[in-house]
Symmetry: C2
Amino acid sequence: MWRVFFTSAVVAVVVRSAMNWCDSGKCGHFGAGGFIIWDISGGQEDYSYQELLPVAIIGVIGGLLGALFNQLTLYITKWRRTYLHKKGKRVQIFEACLISLITSTVSFVLPLLRKCSPCPELETNSGIQCPHPPGTDGNFVNFYCSKDNEYNDLATIFFNSQDDAIRNLFSAKTFHEYSAQSLITFLVMFYSLAVVTFGTAVPAGQFVPGIMIGSTYGRLVGMSVVKFYKKLNVDEGTYALLGAASFLGGSMRMTVSLCVIMVEITNNLQLLPLIMLVLLISKAVGDFFNEGLYEEQARLKGIPLLDSRPKQVMRNMNAKDACKNQKVVCLPRVSRVVDIVSVLQSNKHNGFPIVERGQNGESLVIGLILRSHLLVLLQSKVDFQNTPFPCGPGILNRHNFSDFVKPASSKGKSIDDIHLTDEELGLYLDLAPFLNPSPYIVPEDMSLAKVYNLFRQLGLRHIFVVPRPSRVVGLITRKDLLLEEDGNTATTELQSTSVRSILSTSCKLSFSLLRRNAQN
Amino acid sequence: MWRVFFTSAVVAVVVRSAMNWCDSGKCGHFGAGGFIIWDISGGQEDYSYQELLPVAIIGVIGGLLGALFNQLTLYITKWRRTYLHKKGKRVQIFEACLISLITSTVSFVLPLLRKCSPCPELETNSGIQCPHPPGTDGNFVNFYCSKDNEYNDLATIFFNSQDDAIRNLFSAKTFHEYSAQSLITFLVMFYSLAVVTFGTAVPAGQFVPGIMIGSTYGRLVGMSVVKFYKKLNVDEGTYALLGAASFLGGSMRMTVSLCVIMVEITNNLQLLPLIMLVLLISKAVGDFFNEGLYEEQARLKGIPLLDSRPKQVMRNMNAKDACKNQKVVCLPRVSRVVDIVSVLQSNKHNGFPIVERGQNGESLVIGLILRSHLLVLLQSKVDFQNTPFPCGPGILNRHNFSDFVKPASSKGKSIDDIHLTDEELGLYLDLAPFLNPSPYIVPEDMSLAKVYNLFRQLGLRHIFVVPRPSRVVGLITRKDLLLEEDGNTATTELQSTSVRSILSTSCKLSFSLLRRNAQN
């Protein structure tokens, strides 16, 4: 955490220095711009308890619209995956072009249909001009209005970069800039476009469109608040901000992080309590209908995301119940290559327990080997041996640590890609040097809720379910883990890892491999 | 987390409403005041890269002074505990009185020794008056200065509430308010007093004094920055804020939380990067010497705090090594009372494995019982039975869940407090209904670093070290834990916890107890 923290601090300082340097005009086109900060200073600095009702309403709207957004995007993504994207990559490109065409048309044509409005009287020291001069960005876009003191309110949102549109929606002291009709038109169109665009082949982002949608209905609510609570010092821009928070909360369902983001991008701490309330209400309303946007999409992709808490039903299940549908496939320590290949072909398990005969003839689970590591070993072939006995020392010198690392951008190897001759299939492979010697284990009758917590907290991928142990070798408490730097090291040095004593034959274990395995 | 978040939001809104209501004067003495916010607006809004050097210096000073503070308080607390507090509670009261007397004397006498300074010229619209009128709080305290336009700079810090003193130190646009001599005098005196006061019988707090110390030397550095970088728009108050952050960082060693607190209490986001840098530097410098204040004190109290990472040496140790100094004391499922008493008297273990003969005569570990639960059972006596056979049903009706809860304010029961007759000692006790049927287990040769992570992440108190398992019953992966709400529940309902099948005799397990145990 403190590394992230340190990096952020350095980034902030460097960016600030670079911006200062660029302010002198030495950076050409990079000189303009800066942080995306939608400053709402100059607007509302305080709030009264009467405003809690409209704030709650914004939260509820955000929850409803956010949940609807998640549901619609889920349906469309499913439909895309099932029908559209099977027809090849050209369809994806065509789809993206079509949507961009629709977006452009709508953005240009809709404002043309609106009538121009006369400019309101503005405070001279607010820095806002109506209409703003050509070539600059800002509120009150003239668009094709004929008269000099007129502006088109729909073009002020549509015909702008999204950054500027948000800045205009958030802007303070610009009462009655937008008509309710324009805002509703924009909301409907933009919401539909956002739903359709999400999941196309274009990396369009979800954050800024979300703020756009939210700030539109937020400003709508703000306009009615201004109308009904005339005595209060209320600003429409503040409500646009709360609306943005509510839609993001209703769609993404994050609370604390979104709150920090909203405070950061508006540079305003005063409205923190209202933002918190709005986020919580919208999250609560949204959770009533479905899960967050990212959870839904990740689930659709088949990523096994675990909720933060085990399901209620897990309290009455135990570890054995969770794995009773699948048969465990074990491998002996020294396996025939043909056996390994047939095991890998016959199932899709990602990890296999390795079993060995102990000194007294009883079987002993000596560790877990990953499918991906087996595939690497089968492909490299250097470890194949003629005898079914444990290998000699030095086997690890043949491998590089990096051989076992899965490339980030590949789908991983498959057993079908590996071709072995009949001669090779008859050879043996000693798996001991490559296994994870101590995966986490749970007794078979442990509550599944406890197993679940183990998975979640430690970020595991495999757990061995073992029979109830017959005896307890030791009992570790917290105090046993408080090794004195000076005290216990003497006894420590003498200890060798008894992993070695169990795999007592001769294979030297590479610590780097062990450590990698230890991460499971 | 979201509960805390929601509570904070509600608190903020309620306090704000109450404050609004009190502003109308309806609350009497409660009307004054508000949030403790040391507003630094009006001061520095920006920073340049030349300021990074003085900021780094502040960080280093904070780290050094913070580490020294931790070390000194550690020594003094040790000394107090060994010599002073053994002499009775009167000594503690006397000590507190003595320190308060010294503090008062120093606060009053030291300013008297300083000469009065003439008031500087202040901007008329800054709202600061020199000296401030009697009966009000603020900068430029007149104290016993004879002339009307003079003030005593040491009294401005010393002879004020700590809140106001900090506000004065943070205040912007008050250049040359303090002389370096006064600040150094204050720093030395206040630092010594803070060291001596920490750990007395008075709840004095550590946060506000820390800010006082830090802002003093911060302002000292700020004064020299103002002197050396004359061209920059630098404010002494900003450096006082950074100094405060650095001392807290150097002493408490928190980064993110302190950063949030500093931003909150100053209501200023602009200086966030500098605060982050200062916190990190002071933490890094402090960590070079010792641990944080709270860690040191907790360790002194014997609380087994675990660091966030396992020690390097643990990588080469295994689970068995950690518990080899202690013999595990097991209890049979149905134990004689006299045996339980002698086990509890003979050692200080807090948990005991329970062992039972299985159906085939082999021994089986059926769970863990806590010392505290055993003591409750021994004290209540209602479960004592005549026969050495497992108990009948209904035993749990004799107990209330709350019987097993340790009162928050007690030291817990001791075996010496429980008196049993010879007759009672001869009876038996079936422990099965009261044990934790599935504590976490690790194989004896698991790397101690992995065990450590298990402890830390799950917040455990006991772990069973068991022999390497002989077979794997099942293998759980993440996908097995993604129960479909509709799919798998059918199979689930049919399962009974096989804990019951193991304790197959007749005792019904109370789920409330089980769940409590499950939290270990």
